[in-house]
């Protein structure tokens, strides 16, 4: 397909580069900003993890104080979940939803820009807590009443409430946008059962967020009121109940786990067929399994609470539903493996990460099902066994999947290939590093090492494995360094990537690399879930773009930025002085007003 010729695209006034990015409503630019921000937080959060591992390398370590350690492990989780994995997922969503469904942009481009800027302001508020009197230090699920003003005297937990509410707002807006886009803006011929699996997973993730974020918002508001406005929702002395926090939090928190892992499942469902060079095995089953994981995800939350005195019958009910989730997950794993069967597999770096995803996620999945049994859970909950479990799911699963996606889509996004040799080095170092780090944690768990302890005594049999885990974590750090060098070196090279370097079947590969601002000159016809392969087999040729093609694109707007600044100020005001809330409201109101009257044509 021809690359965009001059004259194709939008007519825009010359603007400075910075202003262009600040006011952009282009989903690709917004996706890029999400990606860069998310990866930056990934690096910062990784550094906190290295500090944690350094502290734990030897018994009675004294690299970090107890206070700092507790802030670090809390912020490590918060940043990885809300500021790294979710935005990196949102980055791919933004970039590839319109490209994969054959649309010009998302349904609401300005809302999309607003989501990013609100995310940025929320993330800065949460992150700034490090420098403004101490970060949250009550763990990422912040169990009451430890979070009450009586036990958490500093303002860390206020930053937690306000930061997460703002981040939730951003995720809600983004998810609404994505859901509408996927449901309603598909290319002609692209029925729901012809949607790429990645789009299906995006849709499920969007609905998970749309339906679970309001719950945690309510909990966070109540916590904020408890801390600042004399209510007693979670303080038992005055009739409150800390169990309520746990229910509301995990009603959100468990779907959130699927929000983190499903995008990566979508990515490997794209990558594996492409490099096996054959269609995905059992498309319908994979889609159905993904959707049912999403629905079942709302019915298992209390398995996080087996040890709280839930009662026998509820514990057994939630045990059964939790084990039930293993079934669709198993279906997915077997279908991915069957896709490789009979293939002719090209082992690119992206495929390495995808295959590693299957293996590593399987380990995390198995240990998850093990703990669906309250009998096993009561001996392993809150030990390093659970730490191993979540990291096999979130690192071996979510992060491996994201790296697979980065190597897969990099040529499309930048027009340049990442070095395969360097990429494979970073893969193997990361693979070795993550297994060295996280597998020994299983041993630590069965030998009874509790999680979230900043120090431990020698003689419990924990010393050696902790040292191994620390060495492994440094290896992960090295692998990330190799990857960064890879990025900086290859970005200096000229853009040489063809439209479809991997011979992939989905629509994003039908346009140039990188795509023009209007995405497609002409959207190809869609007759299957693998349109490019099917069209080639059927001999359908996408017509060339007509001469003088002019595609109307939405104009850029600075209103999202202003509105986000307003929202950010409201947040800052809630943490400092209520007068700032007033200013924030005024700015937001101006933003909404300007938004609603500004021409969109």
């Amino acid at each position: 397909m021809a690359t965009a010729t001059d004259g194709v695209g939008t007519v825009q006034a010359e603007q400075s580069k910075v202003w262009e990015w600040l006011t952009t409503v282009d989903h690709k630019k917004i996706g890029t900003m999400y990606g860069i921000t998310g990866f930056t937080y990934f690096l910062i959060s990784g550094l906190t993890a290295l500090a944690i591992r350094t502290q734990l390398a030897v018994p009675n370590g004294n690299v970090l104080s107890a206070e700092l350690y507790n802030q670090f492990f809390t912020m490590h989780a918060l940043m990885m979940i809300f500021l790294a994995i979710m935005p990196m997922g949102a980055s791919f969503f933004n970039y590839f939803i319109p490209l994969q469904i054959g649309a010009r942009d998302v349904a609401f481009p300005r809302l999309n820009a607003l989501s990013y800027w609100v995310f940025l302001s929320g993330s800065l508020i949460l992150f700034s807590s490090f420098f403004l009197g101490g970060a949250p230090d009550a763990g990422w699920f912040a169990y009451a009443p430890l979070t009450d003003a009586k036990y958490s005297v500093g303002s860390g937990l206020d930053f937690y409430c306000v930061g997460l509410i703002i981040l939730g707002l951003s995720s809600l807006m983004a998810s609404l946008n994505f859901a509408v886009t996927i449901l309603n803006m598909r290319a002609p011929g692209m029925t729901m059962m012809r949607l790429p699996v990645y789009m299906w997973m995006t849709l499920v993730v969007s609905f998970l967020l749309i339906l679970s974020l309001p719950i945690v918002t309510v909990a966070l508001v109540m916590l904020y009121f408890d801390r600042n406005f004399t209510t007693n929702f979670f303080t038992p002395e005055t009739g409150g109940d800390p169990i309520l926090w746990q229910h509301l939090f995990w009603l959100f928190g468990h779907p959130e786990v699927y929000v983190l892992i499903l995008p990566s499942m979508g990515i490997v469902s794209e990558v594996i067929p492409v490099f096996s060079r054959k269609p995905l095995f059992g498309y319908a089953a994979i889609v159905f399994a993904g959707a049912s994981i999403g629905v079942l995800g709302f019915g298992v939350w209390a398995h996080h609470m087996f040890t709280t005195g839930l009662g026998t019958v509820p514990a057994l009910v939630f045990s059964a539903t939790t084990m039930g989730i293993g079934v669709p997950t198993g279906v997915k794993i077997f279908n991915w493996l069957s896709t490789m069967y009979g293939g002719s597999i090209r082992f690119t770096t992206s495929m390495y990460f995808a295959v590693a995803f299957i293996a590593m996620f399987t380990i995390g999945g198995i240990s998850g099902v093990m703990h669906a049994s309250p009998a096993v859970d009561s001996q392993h909950q809150d030990t390093y066994f659970v730490v191993a479990h979540i990291h096999y799911v979130l690192f071996g699963g979510a992060i491996m999947g994201i790296f697979s996606g980065i190597f897969y889509w990099w040529p499309k996004m930048t027009g340049r290939f990442l070095s395969e040799i360097s990429g494979k080095w970073s893969f193997w170092v990361m693979f070795a590093g993550m297994n060295l780090t996280f597998f020994p944690m299983h041993f630590l768990g069965v030998s009874g090492m509790p999680r979230r302890i900043y120090t431990y005594d020698e003689g419990f049999g924990w010393d050696d494995w902790n040292m191994v885990a620390t060495i492994g974590s440094y290896l992960i750090g090295v692998s990330i360094l190799i990857f960064l060098i890879n990025v900086f070196r290859t970005m200096r090279q000229p853009a040489t990537a063809p439209d479809n370097p991997w011979d992939a079947p989905t629509l994003e590969w039908a346009t140039s690399s990188p795509p023009p601002e209007h995405d497609f000159d002409v959207v190809p016809e869609v007759h299957s879930s693998m349109p490019l392969w099917t069209n080639r087999e059927m001999g359908i040729v996408t017509p060339e773009a007509p001469e003088g093609l002019h595609i109307h694109l939405p104009p850029s707007s600075y209103m999202p930025l202003i509105l986000a600044i307003g929202v950010g100020l409201i947040g800052v005001g809630l943490l400092s002085h209520l007068a700032l809330v007033g200013i924030g409201v005024a700015i937001s109101t101006y933003g909404v007003w300007g938004w609603s009257i500004e021409p969109t044509d």
Partner: protein, 360 residues
Amino acid sequence: MTGRSRQIVLVVASFVAVAFVSWLIFIAFDGAAIDKRMSTLNPLSDQAQSYHDVYVLVWWLSGAVFVVIMAATLILSIHYRERPGVEPRRDIHGNTRLEILWTIIPIVIVLIMVVPTFAAVLSVEGDAEEGALEVTATGHQWWFEFTYHDSDGNELFRTANEMHVPVEQAVNVSLVSNDVIHAFWVPALFGKKDMMPGHNNRLWFKSKPGTEGMHYGQCVEYCGDSHANMRFRIFVESAADYDAWVTNQIAKAKWSDDELVSAGREVFVAKACNSCHQVEYSKSDAPDWLVPPTVAAIGPNLSHLASRTTIASALLDRDESSLRAWLKNPPAIKPGSRMPNLELTDDEITKLIAMLDSLE
């Protein structure tokens, strides 16, 4: 070699390789039981045993799934790697029969896990049979308090961080918290349960014959700065030893007229130690200045400190140097400790240690 036999060799080799790795992993898991301090693989009570039985079953099932999927990944990756002249089978889009099969297999595995899980949980929940020992364990930031009751539920005595139970006797533990959520766990004796403020959780256990000895426990629900330092121990003893211990605990603290001890008592009062720590003396005509406070819930009851093996929520052995370090600056040992640095002089500390050592 023909293609067929090469395939067989590949499959066998992959399974052998994965099984070997799994065997190494198994050895390592087993190694976790060698150091038995906090190991979950060393059940010494009926309750821990019934949980352990479920764990073993779940472990073998998981291990089998692990070996199959890892071997399959390996075999498929090697066998179907790109080779010249071999075209991918683009005609395969799925196979309904196979997909139904591997939907049913996980369901069966889940059912195999569900049944013993339900049985084990039902056998452990609830309370012990009649005549069980009644102990209330209270979580504090950051130490454990144990209150022993007689059969009518009347309080007998309080102690801290070290719990004694007779061997082969059922024990009911009432779990409460004085501040935030803590969790109570001795892996060898019982699965963990949370100490929820505003709630009253219960657990029970009955140690197996021949399990006399010291068993390690720790708080396993994150509870603030010194969560890592909140440890405790359970001593399983013969009935005779246990009775002797109870008799000593019920008795009030021994009065000593030793000069250093008397001086220590004065420091104890002068530095307001007794506003947090209770010491009930047996002496009926205790001097006016030594009025024990009625309730001491802020710090552990010290009436029989010298009968314990540890101090500072089982963080340090109870010996002269640890006591000295602790009294010198408690928050340095236990960050966030409710016991502040009292700026005691070495002389005062010496006196206090003498007094504390007299509290057998």
